[in-house]
């Protein structure tokens, strides 16, 4: 079956606005031939089309090359809505609000770290709680949790987890303004208060990585990631709290749609006008959940640092390169046809990628552009990209990872007789995982080829490669 897409260029494919009656804008999918094959199987373009139904959507319903089937919005979806005429939708952010990635650079080489790898892996595995139902070393009172929801990573620094210097290298300075703990339900708070400092399970991880390729030596050196240097990457989000916020507001939005006379082709696209009470409440709660995630990664980052210093020595330098979400909605100003507008930009499984010169960047990155961290999956490479001016097209958005190509059942059944840990060990990757089920579900072949995904965004000019990172130790729940 031919895909209903019109080729714009070798990496841009348009889903025409008349593909489905009710679409307000066309879809635009970033893909090469390899990505198109995966899209065809899943028909994720149907979700791209559905998003285009939403009121106030601007320019395109975008999909990044790691697109795959999600809840309402596709994962890898980007959609921006005029704040006066448009809507906000929890489905456009995702259940795991502010799921994101933190990257830290070490002043050591792979060779130096490998001498201590077993001890380091064991120490990290015990230092950072992970796995099913994991609760952390921090149990917060409701009052403390409210502080987390308001302050984000700033709360963590105030409590002694990391330093003020870290905050410069976290998006939004580590704390989203406009967060309101009162808009987060008691149930969400109950779920979150024992989960501060936990990694979770599934595709979340903590990895020690080595820089395998460098595409821009000057910038790579500036951020501490020269060839052969070691980094630590943490991938996790807002845990049960964020999930509950999404769940709570899906219910709110389903009711709000009746009130505002909005109809959508998929219930999971439920939404409300950005300026409505429901829209404002959701954004306030979403920001609070995002602050939880930012604090969570700051706490985990602090424990990682401590573990590294204990094993590798106090003289090891560990700098935070950046920390950024890939499930979020931000209200931002963008130029459309010569007019500056305030837009609510939804990025679900997509990363904001601010260009060089943007005022939202720390001074150290104003010349370079925003670091964009693209985590791979267990045993596969990850990438560090930077934002480009070319991404104005996508409201400064790019991909977030690789996306699954195999179901969990298929992954488990096709690797049941494999010793995954041994196989990865032969490739130089030490794996420590709490759940054997997760181990099989998360095998590298279950995911898209991340090299191909990143190549598409590079060719499209919406971000550019800085370094490629190869895992040397993976810790999962």
């Amino acid at each position: 079956m031919a895909l209903p897409l019109r080729r714009v260029d070798h990496v841009r494919w348009e889903l025409p606005v008349d593909y489905k009656r009710g679409m307000r804008v066309p879809g635009l999918i970033f893909a090469d031939s390899y990505v198109l094959e995966t899209i065809e199987e899943e028909k994720a373009y149907e979700q791209v089309a559905n998003v285009a139904f939403l009121p106030g959507i601007q320019r395109y319903s975008f999909a990044m090359p790691d697109i795959h089937w999600g809840y309402g919005f596709p994962i890898g979806g980007v959609a921006a809505f005029d704040v006066d005429e448009g809507v906000v939708s929890p489905g456009g952010v995702g259940y795991d609000i502010s799921c994101g990635v933190r990257l830290m650079a070490l002043s050591l080489t792979e060779e130096e770290v490998r001498k201590h790898l077993d001890k380091l892996a064991a120490r990290l595995f015990s230092a950072v709680p992970s796995g099913v139902g994991s609760s952390g070393a921090l149990e917060l009172s409701f009052k403390e949790l409210d502080e987390v929801l308001e302050e984000g990573a700033k709360w963590a620094v105030r409590r002694g987890f990391g330093t003020r210097e870290d905050l410069k290298y976290i998006e939004e300075g580590g704390s989203l303004r406009g967060a309101d703990p009162d808009k987060v339900s008691r149930t969400a708070k109950e779920r979150g208060r024992e989960q501060m400092g936990t990694l979770g399970s599934g595709n979340h991880f903590l990895e020690i990585q080595a820089v395998e390729e460098v595409y821009d030596e000057a910038i790579a050196s500036r951020v501490g990631l020269g060839l052969g240097r070691v980094a630590v990457m943490v991938h996790c989000g807002s845990r049960g709290l964020g999930h509950q916020v999404c769940d709570d507001y899906i219910k709110v939005m389903m009711r709000a749609m009746r009130k505002y006379g909005i109809s959508v082709p998929d219930r999971q696209l439920c939404c409300a006008p950005v300026r409505s009470d429901e829209g404002r409440d959701y954004l306030s709660a979403m920001r609070a959940a995002a602050n939880f995630a930012l604090a969570n990664r700051q706490v985990i980052g602090h424990w990682v640092r401590r573990a590294l210093e204990e094993v590798l020595g106090q003289s090891v330098e560990i700098r935070l390169v950046y920390d950024v979400s890939h499930n979020m909605a931000h209200v931002e100003r963008h130029e459309l046809d010569g007019v500056w507008k305030e837009l609510c930009v939804h990025r679900k499984g997509a990363t904001r990628a601010l260009p060089p010169g943007h005022e939202g960047l720390p001074q150290e990155y104003r010349e370079i552009g925003q670091p964009v961290i693209i985590p791979g999956s267990m045993g596969t490479p990850s990438y560090l990209l930077v934002g480009t001016k070319g991404a104005a097209e996508t409201f400064y958005s790019t991909c977030h990872g690789s996306g699954r190509v195999m179901s969990r059942k298929q992954a488990v059944s096709s690797t049941r007789n494999k010793d995954v840990i041994e196989e990865l060990g032969k490739k130089g990757v030490k794996v420590m995982v709490k759940s054997r089920e997760t181990l099989h579900e998360e095998v590298p072949e279950a995911y898209k080829d991340i090299d191909r995904v990143v190549e598409v965004v590079q060719k499209a000019g919406i971000s550019r490669k800085l370094v490629k990172l190869r895992p040397i130790c993976v810790i999962k729940g």
Partner: protein, 153 residues
């Protein structure tokens, strides 16, 4: 109970098909289906033998029957953490309203197993974050209920 369930393949999460003769039967099948993928193989049997049983009641306002199913299952998911209990069987269901576009009011009574704090972590085969609205519910020509559930893991 004439209902049942089976696990389907899903690209990223878990999909369950559940069915029942009526809405109560469907809720019972769906509860069993959820527990079957959430608990370790002998999990339910193990805690059944040792845990006291209690009865409980949930009142839920919903937009339609699918919303009822999803909201109930999410309450089952949260009950161990929030109430130290595991609802495992739906006893009765009463649904009212839905006239002239009003929301439905549902009362669900259930039996649950009580859990000791910290004991339940050994029960779970996986972390299920939410039962989503990704599936759907319909009735076949004979009036039987059939639903597709997608669980976010």
């Amino acid at each position: 109970m004439a209902g049942g369930y089976r696990e389907l393949d899903h690209p990223a999460d878990i999909a369950l098909e559940v069915w029942g003769d009526d809405l109560l039967d469907l809720l019972r099948s769906a509860t069993c289906a959820l527990l079957s993928v959430w608990l370790k193989p002998d999990g339910l049997e193990g805690i059944s033998r040792s845990s006291p049983r209690v009865e409980g009641r949930e009142s839920i306002e919903v937009v339609d029957e699918f919303d009822l199913l999803i909201q109930w299952l999410n309450r089952v998911l949260l009950a161990p953490q929030l109430k130290l209990r595991l609802p495992h069987h739906v006893l009765d269901l009463d649904v009212r309203g839905g006239v002239e576009g009003d929301f439905l009011q549902a009362e669900i009574s259930y039996e649950a197993l009580t859990l000791a704090k910290g004991s339940s972590e050994a029960l779970w085969a996986r972390e299920i974050k939410s039962v989503t609205y990704g599936g759907g519910l319909n009735r076949d020509p004979s009036g039987r209920y059939r639903a597709l559930l997608i669980l976010d893991i």
